[in-house]
């Protein structure tokens, strides 16, 4: 080998490197194990080193103009910080707080099973007088410590509770599930609503402090070797919601009214208000909900935790007639002038069944416009039979039913549009579905839709047939104000001709304003309001009341769907609510025509 000598030199060099490296390891190890042995032995004994979590405040939630909806508030929690000798402290604290000491002790034991040496949370969110009582007696409670933590607080109580959702702390089973994502035991996590959907923005990153404690668990100060890690607050999110409209809408559901309201900006799909009534108080969940509160909420027959605006599907009733009409026009089965074979005398016989019109006296012979204005069922039964189940189901799906709108909120319901396959499964292969198609044509029978779906369709009609995906997020900013994500507007042209949209809009205008109208209660002075009432028969009780509409007709700023359960006619209950919502929003936007003010009043 040519460079044998070179290889010898290189071997020596590498050997020198090896000796150098290993000497470093050996010296370091000797330093830790021999020189500093006492120090580390002390830290190791009874585990005197503690890692204390500094919780990061959760991000804030604002409406579109910066009105605060949800923020964080400080809360006091009582912690057990020693590993041993804690029984007497816990007993005394239980006495001071008036709590069951057995309960506290069993919670300590169960938490210690997972984290044998970590501090244990005894009581969360102490009342001010409880804090005072503990502080007065802190000398007698050597094992305990009061800590401040950050709890969720909604600014407007239970308003918009379904939209905002709530947070709760991670329990044992959840901790196991989420710890890989960086959660600590007892961290707060969004449950439902946008707290859940935008959890990744809202949650911050916890900080840590490293402290040395004495044998009784008392703080001896921070450890110099491990640097304190500051918490990073969560990001703030801004919603498309206009709080002025939201709070008005919330207030309109009075007197135990059960229902939902959805308001959408047709041009963008921005959700302006999202109401589900009755609502609940998310603040009850902030520090862990008490069992009596929880039982009250889940046993309430009106299901206050359920988001009726996006999670409940109802028969859409007559609000669905625009779908039937659009399908018939697009399939060229009728023209706007076509009149049905049978004019309305209050009912129609199909097979051996009598299908009634809501107006017992009948409407006589109507064209499409008249049929929508008067909401004539007999007209639409015949249209439904022309279209058959297939035509109705196909067009319903094309117009957005039977699937989620894709709003950025969890647990959306897709509703239901029964098609031929569905009926064959249900009724057998050769079942006659002509009666079902008649029922479906007026939004009855098995058809189900969420208030959000109906609002979204009417918003698309208002917008000239361009459907915009409903969404609630305007933007998310980190705590320094850097925009992390902006608004996502996604549009889709519905397969409707301009002519069809124009006919429907004109008819919806008529339904509010023409003689014989059904939706007059939604009229607004000086504004062209379009809309449609609905009275959905409900096999479980009284009819549901619907109103869906938009305004102003020519350049719509808002589309609204209102549903009130078991409230009878849409024209009486739902329409006034929708009218007031639209009026309020137009007022906010300065689109309301001012009534002429007499000159004398000005002085």
């Amino acid at each position: 080998m040519a460079n044998e000598l070179g290889r010898r030199e290189r071997t020596i060099s590498l050997l020198a490197l090896l000796v150098l490296g290993f000497s470093a390891l050996l010296l370091r190890s000797g330093y830790l194990q021999v020189v500093k042995h006492g120090y580390y032995a002390r830290l190791s004994q009874q585990n005197r080193l503690r890692r204390v979590l500094i919780p990061a405040p959760r991000g804030l939630v604002f409406d579109c103009s910066g009105v605060l909806i949800a923020q964080s508030r400080p809360g006091f929690e009582l912690m057990l910080v020693t590993v041993n000798d804690w029984l007497s402290s816990v007993n005394k604290a239980a006495g001071l707080l008036g709590m069951d000491s057995l309960l506290l002790k069993s919670s300590v034991v169960s938490q210690r099973k997972i984290f044998p040496n970590d501090p244990v949370v005894l009581v969360k969110d102490l009342l001010p007088e409880q804090v005072a009582r503990i502080e007065e007696n802190i000398q007698d409670l050597p094992a305990l410590r009061l800590e401040v933590e950050s709890l969720r607080k909604t600014e407007h109580g239970s308003q918009a509770s379904h939209l905002v959702g709530y947070t709760s702390s991670l329990g044992q089973s959840e901790y196991v599930k989420y710890k890989d994502q960086g959660y600590s035991y007892g961290d707060y996590i969004g449950k439902g609503g946008l707290e859940l959907k935008y959890e990744n923005y809202l949650r911050g990153t916890n900080g840590w402090d490293f402290i040395e404690v004495d044998a009784r668990g008392r703080d001896l100060g921070t450890v110099t070797e491990a640097e304190r890690i500051e918490p990073e607050p969560g990001s703030n999110i801004y919603l498309t919601i206009d709080w002025r409209l939201e709070s008005l809408a919330e207030s309109l559901f009075t007197g135990g009214m059960i229902g939902a309201a959805v308001a959408i900006e047709p041009r963008t799909g921005r959700v302006l208000a999202l109401v589900s009534s009755p609502n609940f108080d998310p603040n009850l969940f902030a520090a862990g909900i008490r069992s009596e509160d929880w039982n009250r909420l889940v046993n309430d027959p009106s299901f206050p935790l359920w988001d009726r605006a996006i999670r409940s599907a109802y028969p859409p009733g007559s609000t669905f007639k625009v779908v039937t009409a659009a399908a018939a026009l697009e399939e060229s089965l009728i023209t706007p002038e076509t009149r049905m074979k049978v004019s309305c005398h209050g009912s129609l016989v199909i097979g051996n069944r009598v299908f009634k019109c809501w107006k017992r006296g009948g409407h006589g012979s109507l064209d499409l416009h008249g049929a929508i204005v008067n909401s004539c069922d007999v007209y639409f039964y015949q249209l439904g039979m022309l279209l058959q189940i297939k035509g109705l189901a196909d067009w319903s799906k094309k117009l957005g039913f039977n699937r989620e709108t894709g709003i950025d909120l969890p647990q959306e319901n897709a509703g239901l549009i029964p098609d031929d396959v569905w009926y064959q499964k249900r009724l057998g292969k050769y079942a006659k579905t002509v009666g079902h198609s008649a029922n479906m044509s007026i939004g009855q029978g098995e058809v189900l839709a969420t208030p959000l779906q109906v609002a979204s369709l009417y918003a698309a009609l208002a917008n000239g047939g361009v459907w915009c995906q409903p969404h609630v997020l305007l933007k998310a900013e980190d705590y320094k104000g850097k925009v992390l994500t902006g608004e996502v507007i996604s549009k889709k042209r519905l397969p409707l001709s301009n002519g069809t949209v124009a006919v429907l809009k004109q008819a919806l205008y008529g339904a509010v304003n023409d003689p014989g109208h059904t939706g007059g209660a939604a009229q607004i002075y000086g504004v062209k309001v379009c809309g449609k009432t609905g009275t959905a028969q409900n096999p479980h009780g009284n009819d549901h009341s619907w109103f869906v509409g938009f305004a102003p007709m020519d350049d719509p700023a808002i589309a609204v769907a209102v549903l009130v359960e078991n409230a009878g006619h849409g024209s009486e209950i739902a329409a006034p609510i929708a009218g007031k919502m639209m009026q309020r929003y137009l007022e906010i936007k300065g689109l309301l025509a001012q009534p002429a003010i007499p000159a004398a009043r000005a002085q």
Binding site: R7, T11, L14, L26, R28, Q33, V34, L43
Partner: protein, 407 residues
């Protein structure tokens, strides 16, 4: 050709003994580290024992195969491991990193195979008769051969393993005969990047480099570009680094090196130091460690096995383990030095570089003198792929030793 069997004069029994002792110590430590009220861990030592058996079997096979066959397999093996390294990036992540391919019955880390394959192709390239460093650009081929797998491993991401490719490359290039001077100039941009931590140290470094140019009589046309590259990197690095916001820096660091726990920075290392330090001179005794019971690390039986061992067996134990590793590496170097076949010699030194780097980095992390990078301690950490690869490497080393006088 006569077949040489273990027991022959050239078989390095001492090296084998060192390895077997380290494996035994590892097994004992894994057993101790996993007896902590966590049932899913307590049986791991048996799995490790099985891997050890399999590894020893493969090692025996490796010893029997004449090393020139490895040379023939170098390229196919390299290509296969590159394919697997690309494939692993599409495998489902485990703890946020794409390091494992799951074959159902066994999880496999392609980066382990890639280490061996890269050693082989580098050895083949560098040992070629017409290879020399008379022209600097001739380095490009070996650089490329290492950069490809190293970059793929970095993308997993796995910084520790990626750096081990750098260690193996530098050692093998040095072994080829790259002069101290050229070697220094080659790594100078990296040194420059480190030196810019403070202005005086960087100026000192540049002066040192100018001195080196003069001392090694480097021609101006080479010196100038090297110098410019250093100034460029030295001025760019801090501009980029300090241009980033605090959280961006943290994100970058955790992206490159996810083992650097952003939430517990310092905590794991501190716990490891407490374990080691509280062990003292004689240790707390087998199964008597207290720190491990805190489960302060998810990796106390893998990457932090050394701290469990040091807690229970003290400084005496540490000295024994370091001596065993030291002896193993020394014997390996002797084999590399004596091997007459150039490919064999390069392979041997590459293996020594990999093992040495792993030992130094892993123990350095547990003692708190190296940044946390997830890298196993050879022969001792829990983990089948690593153990088996290491044993196969030892098999190759013994193989070369056995045939050290063959060309």
């Amino acid at each position: 050709m006569k077949i040489k069997l273990p027991g022959s004069r050239d078989f390095d029994l001492q090296l084998l003994m060192a390895v077997l002792l380290l494996c035994t110590i590892g097994l004992i430590s894994i057993y101790s580290a996993t007896q902590i009220d966590q049932p899913h861990l307590s049986g791991l030592w048996q799995k490790q024992l099985f891997s050890l058996g399999l590894g020893l079997l493969l090692m025996a096979v490796t010893i029997a195969v004449p090393f020139r066959y490895f040379e023939a397999f170098a390229w196919p093996m390299y290509i296969l491991s590159i394919i697997l390294l690309v494939a692993v990036l599409f495998a489902p992540p485990v703890m946020k990193a794409h390091r494992w391919i799951n074959f159902g019955f066994v999880r496999f880390q392609p980066s382990e195979l890639a280490k061996l394959a890269t050693i082989f192709v580098l050895a083949k390239t560098l040992s070629a008769h017409d290879f020399s460093f008379d022209k600097f650009w001739k380095l490009l081929v070996p650089v490329g051969l290492v950069l490809l797998p190293a970059a793929l491993v970095l993308a997993e991401p796995d910084l520790g393993t990626s750096l081990s490719f750098a260690a193996l490359f530098l050692t093998m290039v040095f072994w080829q005969g790259l002069s101290f001077g050229n070697f220094f100039f080659m790594v100078s941009p990296v040194l420059s990047m480190v030196a810019v931590i403070s202005m005086p140290s960087w100026i000192g470094f540049m002066v040192l480099m100018a001195g080196a140019f003069w001392f090694f009589k480097v021609k101006f046309k080479y010196a100038l570009p090297i110098f410019l590259i250093n100034i460029f990197i030295g001025s760019l690095a801090p501009a980029v680094w300090y241009g980033l916001k605090g959280y961006q820096r943290k994100r970058l660091l955790t992206f490159v090196n996810p083992d650097l726990d952003p939430k517990g920075a310092g905590w794991h290392v501190l716990q490891s130091k407490i374990a080691v330090g509280s062990g003292g001179l004689l240790g707390k005794g087998f199964l008597q460690g207290t720190q491990k019971k805190l489960s302060f690390l998810p990796e106390q039986h893998t990457d932090f096995i050394f701290s469990t061992f040091a807690e229970e067996f003290g400084f005496i134990g540490v000295m024994i383990v370091l001596s065993l590793f030291g002896w193993l590496l020394f014997r390996g170097m002797i084999i590399a030095r004596q091997a007459r076949n150039r490919f064999a010699s390069f392979t041997a030194i590459g293996i020594i570089a990999i093992i040495g780097f792993h030992v130094f980095l892993n123990i350095g992390v547990t003692l708190g003198i190296m940044p946390v990078t997830g890298i196993p301690l050879p022969f001792m950490s829990y983990g089948g792929t690593s153990l088996i690869t290491m044993l196969v490497m030892i098999g190759i080393l013994l193989n070369i030793g056995l045939r050290r006088y063959e060309y």
